[in-house]
């Protein structure tokens, strides 16, 4: 309960942050040359000024900036994200359609990066400055330096075009009408390459942090105490070191949630996944500012939610947080 209250307080503290983001972005978007109506008119192949005038009134674009900002924030409270002129439906609907793919991709990439980062980091730290460490650390550096979109393209060339192990893009086979387990497996098959692509850089980051953190914890006094107790190295690592060493990694998940969402823009574009990231890219290209603002809002909510979970996890792992000692 105290853990929940604590994380709840942190959650409440992020409300002003959210408002700051929305106001800042709304004002920023006002600086954009051209608006939704211009984009719409361009798509329709032009039209006269009177039509544009009508459309602006219809979308509420003729009001003052302050009034529109107030309106926008007020509507957000009721989770009304406005209407997408390009997609012809409410922004909330458009986003909800795209959310599952992104959530699935992020969860998969995070699990992949976290698990292998942890294992490889521990292995490297246990063999520090010997060949397994050198190998793992070098691989980590190379993974870190690999641009994800390039890795994705090369993976398509190798695994989809030449070996034909995995599909080159999409979320599932359209037109096959798969359901149930078959659909799940099909989606999983489609997500293998995107997960590797998005997770690669985070794997590199986690493994580096885990290795450094393990080495740091291994040098602490209580590990010397554990050695003086006559424990085996395995028991020292599993019972005493691991949990302590994981704390910085947990913090990092929260800090990098935003970066990962940003990374999904590129990955979803490469693999033609119908996710939030690709939607963001499309709305930039199509100047669909309502949708773009909605995506930013939902992304911020998502990052805040992930941080809330991270806080809960951290407080569960570290009793010092709850008692404030």
């Amino acid at each position: 309960m105290r853990v929940l209250a604590l994380a709840g307080r942190r959650l409440a503290a992020s409300l002003p942050t959210l408002v700051l983001i929305l106001v800042g972005l709304f004002l920023l978007l006002q600086l954009a040359p051209g608006d939704t109506v211009d984009a719409l008119m361009a798509q329709m192949g032009g039209g006269d000024a009177a039509l544009a005038e009508d459309l602006r009134r219809f979308y509420g674009l003729d009001l003052s900036i302050a009034a529109r900002l107030g309106q926008y924030l007020l509507r957000l409270v009721t989770l009304d994200l406005g209407f997408s002129a390009i997609y012809g439906k409410p922004v909330a609907t458009v986003i909800l359609e795209r959310l599952p793919a992104t959530l699935l991709l992020m969860a998969a990439a995070l699990s992949f990066a976290f698990f292998f980062g942890l294992v490889l980091g521990v292995l490297a730290a246990r063999r520090v400055n010997r060949w397994p460490d050198t190998l793992i650390s070098t691989l980590g550096l190379i993974f870190y330096a690999t641009p994800s979109f390039w890795f994705g393209l090369m993976a398509i060339v190798l695994f989809s075009v030449h070996l034909q192990w995995f599909p080159a893009g999409g979320f599932y086979e359209i037109g096959e009408g798969l359901t149930g387990l078959a659909l799940t497996l099909d989606i999983a098959r489609h997500l293998v390459l995107p997960t590797l692509t998005l997770g690669l850089i985070f794997l590199a980051i986690y493994l580096r942090i885990m290795r450094a953190s393990m080495l740091e914890v291994l040098s602490l006094d209580f590990v010397r105490t554990a050695r003086a107790k006559g424990l085996t190295e395995t028991r020292i690592v599993t019972r005493h070191v691991l949990r302590n060493a994981m704390l910085p990694m947990i913090t990092l998940i929260g800090l990098q949630a935003g970066t990962m969402l940003g990374g999904s823009v590129v990955v979803e574009t490469v693999f033609a996944l119908p996710g939030l990231g690709r939607l963001a890219y499309e709305s930039v290209v199509q100047r669909d500012l309502n949708t773009l603002l909605g995506i930013v809002f939902v992304s911020a909510l998502l990052v805040i939610a992930i941080n809330f979970l991270v806080d809960l996890l951290y407080a569960k792992l570290d009793p010092r947080i709850v008692s404030g000692g």
Binding site: N129, L141, F149, L153, M154, V161, L261, Y281, V284, V303
Partner: protein, 276 residues
């Protein structure tokens, strides 16, 4: 001096330095080796590397010389990376220093701002900025700098928080020295080494962000860029995959060089963490 020696004894640091120097040399040599416009038509499109001695790395779908674009692209990547990193480091140190040194309300406000920037996915913000202000090279550079400063600010703040309660800072305060002296003469010189090391990470991310943007064809279309070339190669990926592959290797090596350089600096400046 000791740090310099430690740096040159570490093989990774030297490899990093050599890679970075190689990219710099590519950038410097570009106008000499390829004086013509690298985005101009050079020959028949889609010639494989080695097929025509005039184009050792082949030509792209528009018949432009890939090698020429690679060399000129090095200039752009380094320039954008360096300027954006400088912007991010200056903003980050400024905000982190004020927040960490003064604490209280200034800290709360500045950290809220930092959190806001960190809650926003940085690539998404970059998209918004480019959408609003256009895709010129200047906008892209400044925008990358603007989305990259929060980690620098957090790091600087953490350093300042720990250093400002160090006894030598108290001593200077008791001696009657003004805040600017405490910040610039006492705290900042001691806070700088980890921030400089972190700048290498910022630079690596900046190069990555620029190439991602260019890959999505949202960067300046009038300058040759590695990411741009990879994006162009997508249309012919199934057959002429080299168009995308070659510039990707260049990005990888550039980022690897910057990272290794940063790691070498870190080991040299923090001997505690250096391998025993």
């Amino acid at each position: 001096m000791r740090a310099l020696k430690a740096f040159f004894r570490s093989p990774p640091a030297i490899i990093g330095l050599l890679l970075v120097l190689a990219v710099v040399a590519m950038g410097l040599a570009a106008p000499l080796l390829y004086p013509n416009d690298p985005l101009g038509l050079a020959g028949r499109p889609l010639q494989w590397p080695g097929a025509n001695p005039r184009f050792p790395l082949g030509t792209d779908p528009s018949g432009r010389d890939i090698a020429a674009q690679l060399f000129h692209g090095a200039r752009i990547s380094l320039l954008i990376g360096f300027v954006a990193t400088s912007i991010a480091v200056v903003i980050g140190i400024g905000i982190g220093a004020v927040a960490g040194f003064y604490g209280g309300a200034a800290d709360t406000v500045l950290m809220r701002l930092t959190e806001a920037f960190q809650t926003l996915p940085n690539f998404l913000l970059l998209l918004v900025l480019v959408a609003v202000f256009g895709s010129t090279m200047e906008v892209v550079t400044v925008a990358i700098g603007l989305v990259s400063w929060p980690p620098v600010a957090r790091l600087t703040r953490a350093e300042f928080l720990s250093l400002r309660t160090r006894e030598f800072v108290y001593a200077a305060r008791i001696q009657g020295l003004p805040d600017w002296h405490l910040i610039f003469r006492e705290v900042l010189p001691n806070a700088l080494p980890p921030v400089i090391v972190y700048a290498s990470v910022v630079m690596a991310v900046a190069i990555l962000l620029e190439s991602s943007l260019a890959f999505l064809q949202l960067s300046d279309p009038n300058v040759p860029s590695w990411g741009n070339l990879i994006g162009l190669g997508r249309s012919v990926l199934r057959t002429e995959w080299y168009v995308s592959a070659i510039p990707g290797v260049a990005i990888l090596l550039a980022i690897l060089g910057v990272s290794l350089l940063g790691q070498g600096l870190n080991d040299a400046l923090n001997p505690r963490l250096a391998p025993r």
